[in-house]
Each structure stands twice: as C-alpha cells, then as structure tokens.
C-alpha cells in the first residue's frame, strides 16, 4: 500500500491547497502521471505521482488546505484487492472510503486528522519549525526571524539559547546588555513585529500576490540569514558565440530560432556538469550533489513575483530542445500550470536580467541550492585584445555561491568554464 503525500514544491512551501483531483479511486496510475492540481502560495502546480499502482482512497477533499506531508491518497498494487477492511480497526468508523466525484460529500477536516495518527505526523512536523514556547516568545520580543535559526534543542527544536545566540538578537542586545531584564519579567518593551504571518488560502488574485510576496520574502530572508554568500563576476566576450548563433539560426525557421539566452543556459549547464560542487544542495550541514543538472530558470510573472521552475537535464539537451523547453516553462509558469517535479527539482538557478537592461545581477541563492548564476544585458562594450581596443558584444556573468559548499577558487574556475563553453558554441 503506497501513500501519496502533499509534496513540498519548494523550500518556501509548508502547506498547499488541493484544488482538483485528476484521478478517482480505482484508476490505474503510473509513475509520472499527473494526479492532482495543488495551489501553493505561488502557483497552481500539477502534481505527479512517483509510484505505479491503483488509486485506493482519496483522503483529502478538493479545496482542503493541508500541511506538506499529509497523506492525500492511498495506492494499492495493480491487481491487489481494494481496501475491504480499512488499515486498522480504530480507523474503521472514522475513515470511510471516499467517493469524491460528482457531488459526494467532501471530507471534513476532523476526519482527515483522524486518518493520520499523532505518531505519524512527523513528516509535516519536519517542515514546521519546532520552537519552544519560551523561544517563540523571546523571538517575538527581539524581532528575530525564527526561520533563520537552526535549533539545538530536543529533536532540533529552537530553544531560548538559540534565539539569544542568533546574530539578529545579539545585535539588539549589545546596546542594552547591561540592563537586560530577566525573561520572566518582560512584557514586550518593543513593538510587536509588524508583519503577522499572512493566512494563505488565496483564491483572489490580490491575495495570491500578497501570499507570493510573503513566501518570496520568507525564503529570501532565510537564504540571506543562513547562506554565507560570496560573489564573483566575469565579463565574457560573446562575439564568436553570437556570430555562430547568427549563422546557425539562418537554417532555422523563424519561430524556431535560438535566442542568446538559451546559449547562456546551455553553457552554464555544461559547466555545472563538469563542476558538480556548484550543482546541488546544502542540507543538514552537508553538501549533496544534484541528481542531474536541473537548471532553475527564474521567470518573472506578469502580476509581479518570481518563480524558478526546473529545466530538467539541461546539460543533455540540444540548443533547440533548450529553447523549446524554456518557452514552454515560461508560458506555463505565467499560466500557473507548472508540474510538481519542476518546482522541487532545480539544482542550480540561472537568472537573466539582461532584458531588463541591467549590466549585472548579484543574486540571492534559492535554498537549499548552493549557487546562482546571473547574466546582465548583452551590450557592445570596449574590449582590449592584444594591446588594441575594439568593440565587442559582451555579457557580465555573476556567480553567487554558498561559501559553506565552495570557495572563491572553485567559483572562479566555474565562471571561467562558462566563458570557455561560450567560446566554443558549436559544442553546446
């Protein structure tokens, strides 16, 4: 018996709303099938299943908002009997089989809660920040962001000591340390933090905007709090790359032409394949190499906000495939129809702000990734070659990288590798 869980579609998601089921009990599904549509605070995401089987029960009704890790549906092996008797006698009265389609009564929240006994709530709990009541109170008083602290208490809970040790707290305590009153007597001398956690169920567009702003804010704050960024930049001569592209595009139909941005993505993907320390995740104080080069492509959304879905195996795609992939991603991102694997898989993000006319971008790393590559505008700039000044089309590539996972030395090698790839565009 398998379980289909509310997935984490990015480091900033701790709950999601199940909008639509695309399957019903009895349907046969295989790995990769889209089985549900889930609304994160950022977008509506088509969620894939990672197991073959037959849908047994749907446990969460459309419209319900549940924490990441909640069991949404159960699966049985193909050919196995449908659940005649529910998994445990205790669950029998409270977990009837649910036939959802067409006007069936939706599952109510209490039933859903009973389906998951307290012992198994660990997976959502793993995504919820564990904070002791005392620490939570202290964090509020000191205006310390709990998301930026890692806990050292029982089962990783944040304790008072963790809050007091945090840089934000130390900064505040410094001027008043001599007169710091004992915690027990404090009745919040500081104004309460002005931004309460926004309730997320957002259907209205404006609410969605707010929720997305909040989610981006929380994630970026966490990134800047936790990740010791270092930044490098390199100006790259694109003259040979662009002339090669010009020639090869001549052979393509107009709608199939490859844009320089695809060339840049491809160069980064190839460089990342050769330098895996830039391609992966920093989790639990250790680096984990990405399972492939899945480039997160930063896409700005029309109403504001930002999303960076994955272009899977970008290092193994041809330029034409990359171009098609990017167009498809951008379209679907803006239509709010991305897939779950695209949300959770990126191993290295690329942001290209050239179209916005800026020269370079110092990016903020998307946790738990360890690097972000930025490109500014391709412009004609003065360029010295062999003692002579000429004018060449160049782009400034930047790297923001996690100093826990790599050092400036390898970061420098990486940017130079991107440069080398762009000097041999025919190999991309």
């Amino acid at each position: 018996m398998g379980e289909f869980l509310m997935p984490s579609l990015g480091a900033d998601m701790d709950a999601g709303t199940l909008l639509e089921w695309h399957v019903k009990p009895g349907d046969t599904v295989k790995r990769g099938d889209i089985v549900a549509l889930v609304d994160t605070s950022k977008a509506e995401i088509e969620v894939e299943i990672f197991e073959d089987g037959v849908v047994d029960q749907l446990l969460v009704a459309e419209g319900s908002r549940v924490p990441v890790g909640t069991v949404l549906a159960t699966l049985r092996a193909t050919g196995a009997q449908a659940t005649a008797s529910p998994p445990s006698p205790a669950a029998a009265p409270s977990a009837p089989r649910i036939q959802l389609p067409d006007g069936a009564a939706p599952v109510t929240a209490p039933q859903v809660e009973r389906v998951a006994p307290p012992e198994t709530i660990q997976s959502p709990a793993a995504h919820r920040i564990r904070v002791s009541p005392l620490a939570r109170r202290a964090a509020e008083r000191l205006c310390v962001d709990l998301a930026a602290i890692s806990g050292t208490g029982p089962r990783g809970a944040i304790t008072l000591a963790d809050v007091e040790r945090s840089p934000a707290s130390l900064a505040q305590q410094q001027p008043t340390s001599a007169v710091q009153p004992p915690v027990a007597e404090i009745t919040s001398p500081l104004p309460p933090p002005s931004a309460p956690v926004a309730p997320l169920p957002a259907t209205e567009n404006a609410d969605r905007q707010d929720a997305m702003r909040h989610a981006i804010g929380a994630l970026m704050a966490r990134s800047k709090h936790q990740i010791p960024h270092y930044y490098l930049q390199l100006e790259i001569d694109l003259s040979s790359a662009l002339s090669w592209l010009h020639e090869s595009n001549a052979a393509r139909p107009i709608e199939g032409r490859v844009l320089p941005s695809a060339l840049l993505l491809s160069a980064v993907a190839h460089a990342a394949a050769e330098m895996p320390e830039m391609n992966g995740f920093w989790i639990d104080d250790a680096f984990t190499q990405g399972p492939g080069v899945h480039l997160g492509v930063a896409v700005s959304l029309r109403g504001g906000g930002l999303i960076a879905p994955a272009l899977h195996d970008a290092d193994r795609k041809t330029l034409d495939e990359l171009m098609t992939g990017v167009r498809d991603l951008v379209q679907r991102a803006r239509a709010g129809r991305l897939r779950s694997s695209e949300m959770s898989d990126p191993t290295l993000t690329v942001t290209n702000l050239g179209e916005r006319g800026v020269d370079l971008v110092h990016g903020v790393i998307y946790p738990p990734q360890v690097a972000l590559v930025g490109f500014g505008a391709v412009r004609d700039r003065p360029w010295a070659v062999a003692g002579m000044l000429g004018v060449r089309p160049t782009v400034i590539a930047t790297l923001a990288a996690d100093h826990r996972a790599s050092d400036g030395h390898s970061g420098g090698l990486f940017l130079n590798l991107v440069d080398q790839k762009l000097q041999k565009p025919e190999a991309l």
């Binding site: 009541p133 109170r137 029982p154 089962r155 990783g156 809970a157």
Partner: protein, 333 residues
C-alpha cells in the same frame, strides 16, 4: 574518635517512632492501631517498644481487615479521638478505599462541618524491596484524586519526624506515605522544630532544569542532579512533600526560573501524579517552557519480583539524566 556521636544520628524509622511517641505523650486522645503494631512492633518495625511504654489500650493490634480498622479509626475520629491508623502498604489500603473515600473524605463535607475527621492513616508505599506485585506499588496518585483528603510524603528525616504533629492537628483526614526504601535512611537528628504541611521544598537549588519528585524519588532526583552537575548542568530538585493539595506555586516558580522540568513519579505513568503535574505546568507556565515537560515513572507492569527487573521497572537516576541531556540539546530524539 568520631566527631558524630550516635545520638546525633537518626533513621527515618526512628524519626517516625519518635513522632508517634511524642504525639502519644502530648495528647491522651492519640492512639495507634493496625496490623501487628503492638506485639510485633509494626510490619516495618516503626512501633517497636511502644506497646511496652503505652500499653494495649493505646497501641492496638487489629484483625486483618483494613476496611474494619480504618473504619474504626474514622469512627473514633468522629467521636473526638485522634487516631493514627497504620496500613501495611498502600496496596492493602484498597481494601479500605470505601472507608477512606466514602467516609473519611466526605463526612466532613456532608455533615456541613459538624464532623471533622482528624484521622491520620500511615502506610508504606513503593518498590525496591523485592516484595513483588502486590506489596510494591505507588498508588498515591489514585488517592490524590480525592477531594477532602490531605496527602503527605515525607522524604527526609525532618519531615518523617515532624509531619505527624500538624497532621494530627488538621481537622481533615491525612494520609502519610512512608516509602519502604527510606526507613533505613540515616541522617542528622533534626533540631526540635515544626514543619508545615502545605508547601513543597527546594532540596537543591539549580538554574537549568527542575526535577520534581516526592517520597522515594527524591533521593533518585538528588543522585541525578549530582551526576548532571558533573556535566555542568545545574539541576534544581523540588520535593513535593504534600501530594494533595499540590503546591503549584513552588512548581511554577521553579519552572519559571529553569524553563525545563522532569517529573519523577514511582506511580505508573498513565493517569499519574506526574501527569497532573505536567498538566499544571502546561496550564500555568506554558510560555516559560523551553522544552516539553518530561516524565520518569515506573514501567507499566505489576512490580516484578526479580531484583534486576524490579530495578529496571523503577524510576532511575540514569533515566532522569538521559531525559535532561536530551532536553538540553541532544538531537537523538
């Protein structure tokens, strides 16, 4: 030459005997009754010598019927006497539970205060002496459930010596639980003093965690605190002393200072005094807590006879130390 002469040391057993003797001398309405308290000197030797000194009118052996002699004690108290009733163990007081709950705890209320019941019922509690599954339990939590009773758990020589007098003076029925492992505990003879029967006591001051214990678990908590001190963890030990009504103030004050609590209770965990204390901490000091309240209780089995199994079933200082270590930042949970 020892600087400590024998007269300055006293056992817990001797302290209780002295307390009873003093009460018998002070008030002619006081008498002691129970199984084997006279000729045999008490099942645990507490009343040895008292029959010879005070005679069979005041040191009364009873038949083996807890219901009858506890009931007789309650009746005597209604009639103006100040009886001290000894029940061999808390397990056997179950035979007298009807008398304790339906009569002792209620008659004062139901008579509109016309009949105070100033009876004192002493009983042995706890494990550790290899007397197995019918003589070893800690059922204080059950009795602490009953309004109208006052429950005392002396854990020190001084409390054993001086809690009896205020208990006899109290117009309510008072139950005194004497832990079987404490009888041979020896300590300095306490100075002539009185003690209250309202407050918990801090037996060791500390800043990092509060260990809440009573009766037989007080030495366990102190042992754990010593071991924790070697790790630089400064544990406070609270001896509850009075199990009903609980001294909430002392518990909450301590937890407010230390922000962490471990409750030791030789009773079974489910529905225990430890459960009650944890709930009160949650109700009154939730926002002071820096970690969930932990409990170290007896294993939920009838107390085993075999020594190693009995030891394993009882609250142990190693378990307390492990709980505290985890609380203070082990992430092994």
């Amino acid at each position: 030459m020892s600087s400590v002469s024998p007269e300055t040391r006293m056992t817990y057993r001797e302290a209780i005997r002295q307390a009873i003797r003093e009460a018998l001398l002070a008030d002619e309405n006081v008498f002691l009754m129970g199984e084997d308290v006279g000729q045999y000197g008490g099942s645990f030797g507490v009343s040895k010598g008292l029959l010879a000194e005070f005679g069979p009118e005041r040191i009364r052996d009873t038949p083996l019927s807890e219901s009858a002699f506890v009931g007789a004690g309650i009746g005597a108290a209604m009639g103006g006497m100040r009886p001290i009733v000894e029940v061999m163990t808390v397990n056997f007081c179950l035979l007298a539970l009807d008398q304790i709950m339906n009569n002792a705890a209620t008659i004062g209320h139901m008579s509109g205060g016309q009949f105070p019941i100033p009876v004192v019922i002493r009983m042995t509690t706890g494990a550790g002496r290899q007397v197995a599954g019918q003589h070893s339990h800690s059922l204080e939590g059950w009795l602490a459930h009953i309004p109208g009773l006052k429950l005392l758990a002396p854990a020190t020589i001084a409390d054993a010596r001086y809690m009896l007098a205020p208990a006899l003076a109290d117009p309510n029925p008072v139950l005194i639980f004497e832990h079987g492992l404490l009888y041979n505990q020896e300590g300095d003879q306490p100075p002539d003093a009185t003690v209250d029967i309202e407050c918990a006591a801090v037996r060791r001051s500390g800043t990092d965690v509060t260990l809440i214990a009573y009766g037989g678990t007080v030495p366990t908590a102190l042992d754990a605190a010593e071991e924790l001190a070697q790790d630089g963890v400064d544990a406070e030990v609270i001896d509850l002393r009075v199990l009903r009504p609980l001294d909430d103030r002392a518990i909450i004050d301590s937890v407010t200072r230390t922000h962490r609590a471990v409750v030791l209770d030789e009773g079974w965990r489910s529905g225990s005094l430890a459960a009650e204390i944890s709930a009160r901490i949650m109700e009154q000091a939730f926002y002071e807590l820096d970690a969930p309240v932990a409990r170290v209780c007896s294993a939920e089995v009838p107390m085993p006879y075999a020594k190693h199994l009995e030891q394993a079933a009882m609250p142990r200082s190693e378990t307390v130390v492990a709980e505290v270590r985890q609380m203070l930042g082990g992430s092994d949970g």
